[in-house]
């Protein structure tokens, strides 16, 4: 195994072009576990630790450009307002030591259905900034996950950053595990209200071969909220709407039985989390709406 240590982003791209099988490593919280357990023997390991740009973020007008290596701890500490869903998800990642090293770039690179960041990214709306010596492109998060632990990156591409839409409404993230901390998801759910576009977006983790959105559930809920004038009147969402939304989220799953949980439990739990996170975000939205009415 050869160890590559590019000093700059340009060097990294050149090295990746020359050695497309090189495995990039930043925090190492995924890659090193696989290497230590002898499950992975890459020909080349490429350390991105010297590229400072990857550890930075910029808050723009509509979105946050999050460097691929920004540790989860930084997200929790600094981006709770702009990226509340991702901040909640970051809080559930492993242990403090791992949150100090791991970042969203690694979650995307591994593209495990159990990655904690994915449901939050799907719900918020995001684009992955991928780059190679051939140029830079943005991949819509919905199109990024292509299979179990597979993503849309070309062999010569590296993830430079993720562009995540700034929250324009409440967001929530829930994850079921069989331990109350430091646990890999049995399944997970992210939900974001987007009052600007009057839409709701979802993200489901560990309940299908890839992280997914519950498209039919979103369509149903968007239509129901629209028809009922809920965005304007701020009424409590009727239980039957919440229930049907939850059922459609369950139906969106395509889970398996494995050592962490059964398929039927995953489907069930996604439904419960969908109903609860919808309730929490909507309560929060109604509270905000009420306050702004008072100010007006």
């Amino acid at each position: 195994m050869d160890f590559l240590r590019p000093a700059s982003w340009e060097e990294a791209l050149a090295a990746k072009a020359e050695h497309p099988t090189a495995v990039p490593i930043a925090g190492g919280t995924d890659v090193m576990v696989e290497i230590n357990f002898d499950q992975r023997r890459p020909d080349y390991l490429m350390d991105l630790g010297r590229i400072g740009d990857l550890y930075e973020w910029e808050v723009g007008e509509d979105s946050v450009r999050l460097g691929a290596s920004v540790p989860y701890t930084r997200i929790m500490e600094n981006l709770r307002t702009e990226l509340p869903g991702l901040a909640l998800a970051s809080h559930t990642v492993a242990s403090p030591q791992i949150r100090n090293r791991g970042g969203v770039g690694g979650n995307l690179g591994t593209a495990s259905p159990a990655g904690d960041a994915h449901p939050a990214l799907l719900a918020a709306g995001a684009e992955v900034e991928a780059e190679s010596v051939r140029g830079s492109r943005r991949i819509l998060i919905d199109a990024f996950y292509t299979g179990v632990k597979r993503n849309a990156l070309a062999p010569d591409e590296l993830i430079r950053a993720v562009h995540i839409k700034k929250a324009d409404g409440p967001q929530q993230f829930s994850k079921v595990g069989t331990r109350n901390a430091m646990v890999i998801a049995v399944c997970a759910f992210g939900l974001a209200l987007h009052p600007g576009t009057r839409t709701v977006r979802t993200g489901i983790g560990s309940a299908a071969p890839t992280p997914i959105r519950a498209a039919a559930a979103e369509e149903f809920l968007n239509a129901a909220l629209d028809e009922g004038g809920f965005w304007d009147n701020g009424k409590i969402i009727t239980p039957s709407i919440a229930r049907q939304f939850a059922d459609l989220c369950s139906a969106a799953c395509n889970p398996i039985d494995d050592v962490r949980g059964t398929a039927s439990y995953r489907r069930h739990a996604v439904g419960v989390m969908a109903r609860r996170t919808l309730t929490w975000t909507w309560e929060s939205y109604r509270g905000t709406a009420h306050a702004s009415e008072g100010v007006a």
């Binding site: 993230f173 109350n180 439990y265």
Partner: protein, 792 residues
Amino acid sequence: MPNGAPTKITQASGTKGGIGESMLRPDGTLKVTGEFAYGSDMWHEDMLWGQILRSPVAHAEIVSIDTGEALAVPGVYAVMTYDDLPTEVKNYGLEIQDTPVLAHGKVRHHGEPVAMVAADHPETARRAAAKIKVEYRDLPVITDEASALAPDAILVHENRTDDHAAHVPHPNIVHRQPIVRGDVAEARRRADVIVEGEYVFGMQDQAFLGPESGLAVPAEDGGVDLYVATQWLHADLRQIAPVLGLPEDKVRLTLAGVGGAFGGREDLSMQIHACLLALRTGKPVKIVYNRFESFFGHVHRHPAKLYYEHGATKDGKLTHVKGRIVLDGGAYASSSPAVVGNAASLGVGPYDVDDVEIEAIGLYTNNPPCGAMRGFGAVQACFAYEAQMDKVAGELGMDPVEFRRRNAMSQGSVMPTGQIVDSPAPVAELLRRVKALPMPPERQWESSEGADVRQLPGGLSNTTHGEGVVRGVGYAVGIKNVGFSEGFDDYSTAKVRMEVVAGEPVASVHTAMAEVGQGGVTVHAQIARTELGVAQVTIHPADTQVGSAGSTSASRQTYVTGGAVKNACELVREKVLEMGRRRFGSYHPAWATAELLLEGGKVVTDGGEVLADLVDVLGDEAVEVEQEWRHRPTEPFDLRTGQGNGHVQYSFAAHRAVVEVDTELGLVKVVELACAQDVGKALNPLSVLGQIQGGTTQGLGIAVMEEIVVDPRTAKVKNPSFTDYLIPTILDTPTIPVDVLELADEHAPYGLRGVGEAPTLSSTPAVLAAIRDATGLELNRTPVRPEHLAGA
């Protein structure tokens, strides 16, 4: 001596620091700050690394092994298979020598050692091991009682000649122990209610944090020095030496730093392999398992199926108990026979029942080998009989604690084995105490800033803000034996020396006791201070240069090696007083007439009069005693009736569990797990508290998360890592209020009672009872998983 080998620990503690005082561990700070040298930290100049190749399948014939490519890897010094073993002794085992050092012709479980490599770098050794070509021909797997006892079942071990072979009903049964007392058929007629139940106990792992490790250094005399993290040096020695073809005095063992044990280091792991490679290459060889290998490298707690029938009268008196306990011992015997004996003899629990029929069996299967783990057979039984006690109470419409109280055993009670419990057995009192504790406040997650998810099921995973959460409360009590049972010669040895060093009287204590975290290293110094009146005590590293201390297990070390240290100290004191009488007897009549003590570095009368300074009594002489010490002997259980005084001492603990369950998601938060335990005498109260809280937490683990999952079709382990074998984090660990009783057992040193295991028993059934209380579900399996509680 290698880097990282243990050194003497001198503990100075003013004039205090005797028994009964809370003392900090001498190695505590080092461990917390990461400076303590564990077995895996050892290093020796010119050292090689050993690597074991393990079977990828559970049951297969070995058609061929080709080591050619592995031997050709640069940096490889040796590759060994069964054919390279040097003597006729090729097996080892704690009770039955059925475990091959390296597989011969056949593998019997997933992860069985097949070959091994020594190389100059661990990575080279791993790569070379992967190049060994082994051709397997699969055999059908035996995974449970039905497949083990089927008419056409393959025998896991053919041609058995062990002590149990003659009395077992089938060769795939390691050992069977019935317990028969009274007349169950007759008692059954008196029962107003009869309750049956079937229970399943999952496979728990010891999950110690320091993986198996050791370093073997070949010696100039043709012998070998082995530094190893283990639980019982002399049992290791007895099994290692014959395989090496060396006399026991040429195999010298020293205890390396141990990172937890819980029973999992009682069997050999890498000891023989490292020694063989060291003798073959003439170089020091270190072997350290990684976490993945560790899950294959030690025995686990027996998974069990338990069938019970309890009868009771309307006024809440048990009429009879019938039980059948099937323990899966996996591919090799390990300590299965003793686990079977424990499960059978303690299978009724701490209750007075005159009419009992219990049968416990241990199976040979192709599942991972199972053996010793904290609680040792009593844990599985307690989970089931306590569920039964709640079920009977429910049938009777009686409070479960009141029902237990009416049947609780006490001093003078007769066990189902016929043994009289001849020391305090405060079962009802322990239950009363946990029940009387104030309840933790309801809805502790509520705060002015919304829900504190850390206080809720799911914790930081943010799954509920109070929705679906229901509280439940459950109680349980258990009984565990202390010490080795069934006629085993369970002795220990201590060498105590007293001399003047730099103008101070100093005691040194040398035993072969494995310090695995239990605190013997502190307790031995406390005993020496109490008995010899010195401030400074030096604890010698544990090794085989002194006689056996027995195992650090069965809650026995403070009792047995503590007893040996106390006894040796008393003999040293007699010699010291004899020296005093010789030197100073003529100066004071009290030397001849008074009861004399050693206190504060002086010889004093029981009236407190100082007769001499120890420094003057000892002068430049040293007093040294090495002596074996034994507790009361036990007897084997009768093979047909199970009658016999099989146990040395019993220990009791009771728990009250308060849980909150998210009934929609099936997630559990244990809010509080209160424990009351009788310890006879707390030699180090701080350490007693640690044992009780640790045992309680380990019991919680098997209640709600810990399980090695074995595929029933292939007998392969599915989760050999801490990613998927979950143990409780601090957020899963509740407040654990502890109420310690000290009712002396007059037969034991200082009246003490073994502490370490009893809290592991009742913790699990208390949590299960609380979850049943919250959900109304029957829950006959542990660990409980979310899908058992919701959405299955």
